[in-house]
Subunit: 376 residues, 2 copies
């Protein structure tokens, strides 16, 4: 853990900032590792949530088999810092990125996502030029309509990829994300088991075609443990669990006290009894999980500790407007007071910050979010 300046005391911390409670994070890391281990599946956490190599190492030490990233640049940062088993769960199609992936794959175990014949051809062509065989996994759409080959087209595409000698197709993966969709059920167990069964079934179909599918990789923080229990699933890829957030708490995956991350903000203005303005807006809190949208119907952009009926209702770029209910008006936060707010979505919130503070006891260590903001 290489910190980038000396630890701070709470009083010295400038707001707005993100503070991670290290003990809570450690507990989250261990819990998910145990959930995977007792179901006998591999855990390959998605590091999009933290983008920090030292946390990836903690996840590996706790039992993860490797990590997942979304970008070549993130894989490069993680590999530079000693991570040796990385899955880029994203279709790489630009020649320069494929070149970079190939260069990485000579040094570490690198697996690359693929979801189309064109994409596979691009990978194969460049791998062939390097005289190298690239390990790939086929991404399958299981209903999210994101990347991923359409389910019914997967067997044909898998056969084509299996036939490319420059590629070694070792697994299939999906991000179903059903519970995140507005129309979806909030029954995580049903969602997780469905996801697992669909993919385990596909793996069987592909094996019957003679494709030796070893890895069947599914799952997210809300569904991972349930999907892991399905026979045939070999790996889960949750990300958010490392810190957790208000959205996960609302899903019932964790309690608010399992949320390791809080935005610290200062009350800068109290123009009226029902309004407190803080020094954090849409450049501090991510706005991708909007208030009052299905399925979660979260009120506001975060959960404000200690002010139960206060709602972080509106954000401009650097201002956050908190509507104070009757109880909060009695509590009467003053100009200069600090508030601690659990953001709706920690992954995209961390992505807004260059540095994050890690609390251990009374000390707060600023650490750089090494994998964020890369030009690519």
């Amino acid at each position: 853990m290489t910190n980038n300046s000396k630890p701070l005391q709470a009083a010295d911390i400038e707001t707005p900032c993100i503070v991670i409670d290290t003990d809570t994070m450690e507990r989250n890391i261990v819990r998910m590792a145990e959930a995977a281990s007792c179901r006998k599946v591999k855990l390959r956490p998605h590091t999009k949530t933290h983008k920090m190599p030292w946390i990836a190492h903690r996840q590996l030490e706790a039992g993860a088999a490797g990590i997942t990233v979304a970008k070549v640049s993130e894989a490069e940062v993680m590999a530079e810092h000693g991570i040796t088993d990385i899955f880029i769960a994203f279709p790489l199609v630009s020649p320069s990125k494929i070149e970079r992936a190939l260069s990485l794959s000579r040094r570490i175990r690198l697996i690359v996502g693929v979801d189309s014949f064109e994409g596979a051809q691009r990978l194969a062509e460049i791998a062939g030029r390097h005289g190298h065989v690239l390990e790939v996994r086929l991404e399958i759409d299981t209903g999210l309509r994101r990347s991923g080959v359409l389910f019914e087209q997967a067997p044909a595409l898998a056969a084509q990829i299996h036939g490319m000698k420059e590629l070694r197709l070792t697994g299939i993966y999906t991000f179903r994300g059903a519970v995140y969709q507005h129309k979806a059920t909030l029954d995580l167990q049903t969602a997780g088991e469905e996801e697992g069964r669909i993919m385990a079934g596909m793996a069987e179909r592909l094996r019957e075609q003679g494709i030796p599918v070893a890895d069947v990789s599914v799952g997210s923080t809300p569904t991972g443990a349930y999907a892991a229990a399905v026979e045939g699933v070999t790996e889960i890829r949750p990300g958010t669990y490392v810190f957790n957030d208000r959205m996960q708490a609302r899903f019932g995956v964790c309690g608010l006290d399992d949320c390791a991350g809080r935005v610290w903000a200062t009350v800068v203005s109290r123009p009226s009894a029902d309004l407190a303005v803080i020094d954090g807006g849409s450049k501090t809190f991510a706005t991708d999980v909007q208030p009052n949208t299905e399925p979660l119907l979260l009120q506001g952009f975060g959960y404000i500790e200690g002010l139960e009926d206060a709602v972080l209702e509106r954000l401009s770029e650097e201002h956050g407007m908190i509507r104070l209910g009757p109880q909060s008006q009695l509590a009467n936060p003053q100009v200069g007071d600090r508030l601690r707010i659990i953001p709706n979505h920690i992954c995209s919130t961390v992505n807004l910050h260059n540095q994050v503070l890690f609390r251990r006891g009374d000390a707060y260590e600023p650490m750089t979010v090494l994998g964020r903001g890369k030009l690519e």
Copy 2:
């Protein structure tokens, strides 16, 4: 203009990234400077949009009288790079930030926003300790319910602040933002003139009280030129105009060809005829200006050049899902194709990126967004 690596050719650019057309930016800078100059008001652009000192210098060279920032850290970055007249349009209440502002104010002309008695006391106390007089402007709420003293309470607060010998109250300011509010009119002229009249009237009231209000600062990109035409307004503070964006084009402030900034993204997947997936999601495109919300009712998260009936409908963190209409399906973008997308809100989109590319002819210079992501 200190670039941080050698210029790239278009083919070498990795996506996702932001490309700014330098000529369009220059034209935008000159136009707003002329709009202010011909109405005989000062222009003090808000640099929140770009956060880059070299662009602030271009704005000053074109006629701006100073700049506006939202944070002490931004003021520090700008001052380090030679900007000598800075207004922090935000209430500073933390002792450490006030100390930093005071330290800056010994080197440059620094004006600090204030909107409460408590805030003014904090400023005065620390200024007094340094034996220094701090120039301040009173922020007045003109309907946005953000920071700013309530309109009817402004005269009493102004009198109190005017009586503090450690503070020198030289002006008043507001960000009315009426046109950004859901319920607001889209008639920019009416909105701008109202904003100007309200504040000019308040300045007169304060002068009648014996407070020598010199600066009456109003306006945003949509309303700035109209507010500037009102007798008694002395300064406008637009920000977004430097790049413009889809939201401003929808307001009718500019055309889409006046938008200097585009996100470049690559099609990574074409799972079906009506769906194209790009390599940019909510970590690439800001989500603070949501689709289908009033008053603008923008479709999707950006305007996709050349694909008129395509909608960037959904974002996950690193994926953007584009629904292709009949025409776009005929155009049939291929895996590997690059798309150029004008984001809904350029300010918060730039804030997601560590670097931005500036196009001059065939060359693309990567430049660091120096003022973003500061730990504070």
